[in-house]
Symmetry: C2
Subunit: 284 residues, 2 copies
Amino acid sequence: MREPDPNLLSINTATVRAQWQLPEIIAGCARRGIRMISPWRDQVAATGLKESVQRIKDAGLALSGYCRGGMFPAIDGKTRRAALDDNKRTVDEALALGAPCLVLVVGGLPKDERGRVASKDLIGARAMVRDGIGELLEYARPSGMPLAIEPLHPMYAADRACVNTMSHANDLCDELGGGLGIAVDVYHVWWDPQLEREIERAGGHSGRLMAYHLCDWLVPTKDLLLDRGMMGDGVVDLPRIRGWMEAAGYRGPHEVEIFSANDWWKRDPDEVLATCVERHRSVC
Amino acid sequence: MREPDPNLLSINTATVRAQWQLPEIIAGCARRGIRMISPWRDQVAATGLKESVQRIKDAGLALSGYCRGGMFPAIDGKTRRAALDDNKRTVDEALALGAPCLVLVVGGLPKDERGRVASKDLIGARAMVRDGIGELLEYARPSGMPLAIEPLHPMYAADRACVNTMSHANDLCDELGGGLGIAVDVYHVWWDPQLEREIERAGGHSGRLMAYHLCDWLVPTKDLLLDRGMMGDGVVDLPRIRGWMEAAGYRGPHEVEIFSANDWWKRDPDEVLATCVERHRSVC
């Protein structure tokens, strides 16, 4: 299999978030010849939207996505409407930043005001997700901002996202129509026996493959949230999944997103970026 | 919804394994009026098979299953054949104990002799699982010991079991035929949007619903392996899933299986059993 095009490498800013603010990440990526980033909303807010836009432009970087909207399920109508309003602002930010898509982490079971899960109705939460995406699409579609559902690993079904498979995300795209697609993150979907088939379903003229995220699954995984691996350090057959993406027509960015509290977040961020560049070439 | 029949409660012996050996578990369950257990193989070995059989009989207990066979993928033919031989011995033990089924945890990616994952070929591992179950069925079917595939949560795909959905388990049953069924553990499958449909597919005249395991999914979950919750302490809608099982014709045991290194394994085991009895009645 061909090596991946190094120009397709993008760095999700979470990968070095513990060490650097957004301006340093932008400068660090530019220094290393990395041409794309995918920033997180809190990092943009800390720097300021206008300054973030300017710095990204000045550095000659493009975006591979914007993280993130979503979190639709809520315990009452007021909270649900507040989440929708906030999601609309996120669409505006994504537009200002020139992002090709807004990534949606759709939310899990509804939580109370203290952030504790307040319902066991998973089917109801999934209906709220469908309705919430539908409402946000009414705003995002005329704005020209595509929404990319990111199916999260089933271990996050309760607290982060109750869309946990490509199949479910494809079903939502079938139901809700244009302007909606999928962000495929290998960490979340690598285990799925239906993965090849569902990537194929999302590809081609469906045009749903909006993002491709890379990291690796470590054995053992010591923390459910913050123990993702650098590509090549885990068990995911990354070239095989890239092959499925390419066979389905995907030619977009390869975005590295690593949450790693006890390893990569403790290293020199320049070393982290250098490793991303090297591993992208050698093992992805 | 009706309360569950207390006579259906079974205790998987892992639930109090840190505190008690098998003879104490048998005696403790009998004292409390619990009529079924599902023992683990290492606990039976520690007590001795013959003595285990006798003590279970003397206490008037029945089995809801035997844990466990499986672990089919291997790096070479010699290791694979050794695993098959060991699985055949496990079938013999299950027969001696009078278990209604042998639960299979099918194994993940092949490991080397030091127990480290030695392959990224998940599709190949799944083929080894299919072949391994097929070979074991040739031994188990004439012996009259049903094999129950337990789909494990996708977070165990690499290191414990690469059958991670009811759909995959049903496909294997379709392919491999009689004498093979499914152990439905809510911890592993509660998140699956296809769960109701796949339970229905396994039920009725398919006759594949061989076991039903209970615990709960905690938020947050602090450890991938040993942080399962007592029923009612987590987010799983247990009555809803029981309703699906019953609608599919399941009338068998409700087996409580809790791995909980920092909570239930540190409590008085009599209190643990009392809590299982109470929660089975009140929240399952």
